[in-house]
Symmetry: none
Subunit: 225 residues, 2 copies
């Protein structure tokens, strides 16, 4: 198990007292796959620091529909399970353990107190929020007018037919060029496909691991989750 | 004209030097209605502090469609026109003057430098970002699950507040753009509202004739702000 210091890139800029407070307040917890660790509107669970496993952040409609906003992996920190810390956060996100997880939970009041002492920690929290904001903006653009998911899915399936294999020899660069888009867009979309279990990615190749799911995207639009 | 100190609720927690740097770096500018002050991907315009007028923040699709994310009014501060300050902001927002505007522009590097010195300013910036994030989340929920009757009713009431009148100068086109939908959808819904006695429609304007009824539709689900 890694010490908690490794999960905070600004650790070295904290005072010894702050380090002590942060690490002593952190409670270790394990959650089996499928546990809803934080439910929107449930109050302040605390900051989640992911030692191992995968979390899914989602929102729910009044009539029970869900959409995944983003995923959090090992070494990520979940801020919105401690949204009470920041007054202006006026929305509720739920967090589910998508695999068995081991986490630290840092109480919101402790973390908030430290943020009010430490510029680096406050700045890092800003970065955390901005990173999630960026993921949500990307998702929104996809929902509003994205057909890039559809185009890339179609492309992969075509290549699979052409190469007569589910393991495609193709670089992100090449896909981007073929589709007339930026490499980053392709990388980001492939990462999304990967998180959804549709493809595996390795250097210079993409493997289709769930053809049905990929076809559903290719044929239609983005599937509601 | 109000001094810049009044636009920063954390002003009193800055040192004299920081106050001086902030106020001396701020450049006053006026923009006529319709000016695009900041264009997504254009780099770092700086922090916009709104003395008077109204700004619109929006994103644009590759093929030129727009959706309004939120509006900024007198005393608001626009962070995303200085998004280069925060590494993890990976999206582009454009900002347009929706009325004649008077602003201060604070250079991003100055503001960033101050954020790295001042915990209160860093925390306030966190709050600014969280407030915009909340508006975007609300919009996303509207897009995903909000019924259009509710969205248009809400929009008309908000515009009525903004324009301080029950007779709104607004075209169906404009409503559609702001809500990210088709003009026909708006026209159809307004016709429905008209038949229900809630609004009157004439060329280039919509008059609210039954505010209570319209509010009932709007309040169905709209969250606390």
């Amino acid at each position: 198990m890694n010490p908690i210091s490794e999960y905070f890139p600004v650790w070295d800029k904290l005072t010894n007292e702050q380090k002590k407070e942060l690490s002593e307040s952190a409670v270790e917890r394990q959650f089996p796959r499928g546990t809803v660790i934080h439910e929107g509107g449930m109050g302040c669970t605390g900051l989640l620091v992911i030692q191992s496993g995968q979390l899914r952040a989602f929102i729910t409609s009044v009539d029970g529909r869900e959409i995944t906003l983003y995923r959090l992996l090992e070494r990520d920190i979940c801020l919105f399970s401690a949204s009470c810390m920041i007054r202006s956060i006026q929305f509720d996100i739920s967090i589910e353990a998508e695999t068995d997880c081991r986490l630290w939970i840092i109480p919101a009041d402790v973390y908030h107190g430290l943020m009010e002492q430490s510029v680096p920690l406050s700045g890092y929290t800003n970065e955390l929020m901005a990173a999630r904001f960026s993921e949500v903006m990307w998702l929104m653009e996809q929902i509003l007018w994205g057909s890039m998911d559809q185009r890339i899915a179609t492309y992969l399936l075509e290549q699979s037919d052409l190469q007569n294999s589910d393991r495609l020899t193709v670089t992100h660069e090449q896909i981007a060029r073929d589709l007339g888009t930026a490499r980053e867009v392709v990388t980001r979309m492939l990462r999304y496909f990967k998180n959804e279990g549709m493809v595996g990615i390795s250097r210079g190749s993409v493997e289709i691991t769930d053809k049905n799911k990929l076809s559903a995207i290719a044929e239609n639009k983005k599937p509601a989750e």
